[in-house]
Symmetry: C2
Subunit: 363 residues, 2 copies
């Protein structure tokens, strides 16, 4: 999707990909197959690149520092990216700059979890490995000291967090350039199913304007204070008592910003590319009253063509974005966007299409 | 731009390109370099393709018939495409189906041109080679029998046409599927400079609704009667006496439809892909009150990066589409789209950006 956004600007990508089957490798012409955890591979790949950016945060921080030392611009740079790689580092930094988070502490063992629970409202407690988790992986909600044993088995540091009493999840998406320009997309509501993003509504319905502004400001502050370059998604809890707390950070175009492809004047992908190249940013404002994104998860029907016939005929305004992935149950294989003036209608259209593509709706 | 539109649908292109420098060859991953005039090259290329389509009309008609005989679907097919390849065939067909055209006749030599002139209002007369012309090439406006010699030198058939007294040029863009579904984009005004499209305004300002409907109907009739599959652009004259006459046909996404990338609910490229694959077509309606496209012609500044800084900073809503071509004076190297509620503002923004990218505006 970033390649798609680069084409009209004449910006050409060289892609480092794990396998030729990766989504990006199917559409980018200049592809190197290799392991992003191997420094020699990275160095060889980086030769001749004007700038390096990412579609995930897993490239080891120390390798990014080595590339920078070689004189290759890395955006976002390792000093920023580490906050999206390591939840312990992220929480410490957000505390330091005064951004509200759930109560949290690095914990040493299950007994320490019990102490952490007792310091607050008791169990349940959320435990997260500080590195490597996504889409609910590497996250446990534990109700007792016995249940708290599992997360420590991998031998990596574990972060304990209060289980926040939230009414919904929001996301604030911003983009920041090396020269310090920043834009904020409208704050969206993000609905999760089983820990995986399912639906995004832009803008978040019935969100108090003061809270919306506060969320945007928090995201802009984080981008600035952490030195982010490119897209930053700040996943937020809206608490029952009216506060906004930071859940997670992602430093790349993010699922909560996919709606911008068809719903904003400039997509998150286009603005990420512009930021990485230090070009002036595009207008982040919405083009429609409501835009809804619903993820398409892999289901029982590996053949999408017959589903296209139904979905496109039913809704000529539907925007389908498929990733070319092999369909496996539960895997994110694409998303759909819809927009319009009537939120109920826009939601129904997106959910119907995503359900039909998945195979859970058949009429 | 068609590749760009195919990515979100998971539709992968294999490209036959003259050179690796061609715009499409820079962004498509599966590229074969070869000559589209060579049947063996075409046959080798076509093996394994589900369907063949085009971004120009110059593949010889007989080669397309050979591919069809091999069992490869060609869309649009040769029986339709010949009308966009041969202006003599096109005029004869439009006459037969009752679509109004400028007065015309195939002429044998300069004396025959003089006869054609005398049958009407005299000179000037427009002469066109029936094949191979585009962007004003292969077209002559002659004021005398002496001037009429030049077009015959190539030894190809020549079509004479009355020089139409038109107030402006319009274009009607439609898309048609194999199963007969068709959609019509709003009729646009197309402003030419030195025979080359310069500015497109969507929808055509102050166009009488009856005339607009008539133009759409003409384009839909042509698409149906000629058996077009995919995008059809019908270039039109709006005459001083209030008629609409067909100037040219193009059977592919067309310069007069580039505005749809940012101004319509479904772009001409997305709908062309959908039509070629016999998928239901997307909504062609505009997303803004006004959308303006201005072509970027090559100028004195081969480095576009510094122009990007100015253009993007001046207008955060500007949409730049560059083709990755080497900049040569007068060559179409890209276009810009702008949209909004105020036509004067939208026009000014597009013209400023195109002029700045070309280098004719420097402040």
């Amino acid at each position: 999707m970033t390649h798609e956004a680069g084409i009209p600007l004449g910006i050409r990508f060289k892609l480092l990909s794990d396998t030729p089957q990766d989504s990006a490798a199917q559409v980018v012409s200049d592809v190197v197959i290799g392991d992003y955890r191997d420094l020699d591979t990275l160095r060889e790949f980086a030769r001749g690149c004007d700038v390096i950016t990412f579609d995930h945060e897993h490239v080891p921080t120390e390798h990014l520092r080595a590339l920078e030392a070689d004189g290759i611009p890395v955006r976002p740079g390792p000093d920023a990216l580490v906050h999206a790689q390591d939840k312990g580092v992220m929480r410490a930094k957000l505390d330091a700059i005064g951004v509200p988070c759930p109560r949290h502490r690095i914990v040493a063992d299950p007994d320490d979890v019990a102490v952490f629970a007792a310091e607050g409202d008791g169990f349940p407690v959320v435990l997260k490995t500080v590195r490597g988790g996504y889409d609910g992986k590497g996250v446990w909600v534990v109700d007792s000291v016995e249940e708290a044993a599992e997360p420590f088995r991998a031998g990596v540091p574990v972060l304990a967090e209060e289980k926040v009493d939230y009414v919904r999840e929001l996301a604030a998406n911003v983009v920041r350039s090396p020269h310090g320009q920043a834009v904020a997309y409208p704050v969206v509501e993000s609905q999760q199913v089983a820990g995986v993003c399912d639906t995004v509504i832009a803008p978040a319905p019935d969100l108090d304007e003061t809270l919306a502004l506060k969320a945007e400001e928090m995201a802009l502050t984080i981008a600035k204070e952490l030195g982010v370059v490119g897209h930053l998604a700040v996943e937020l809890f809206q608490t029952r008592d009216g506060r906004i707390l930071v859940n997670e950070l992602a430093m790349r175009p993010h699922n909560s910003g996919h709606w911008t492809q068809d719903g904003a004047m400039t997509s998150q992908f286009a603005n990420h590319v512009r930021a990485v190249l230090d070009l002036p940013l595009g207008d982040p404002r919405p083009r429609a009253r409501w835009t809804v994104m619903v993820n398409v998860l892999g289901g029982d029907y590996p053949d999408m063509y017959s589903a296209y016939l139904h979905c496109m005929a039913r809704d000529p305004q539907l925007k389908i974005h498929m990733y070319g992935k092999d369909v496996k149950p539960g895997r994110k294989v694409g998303h759909v966007n819809t927009y319009g003036d009537d939120l109920d209608d826009v939601l129904e259209r997106a959910r119907h299409a995503a359900g039909y593509l998945k195979g859970t709706i058949t009429e």
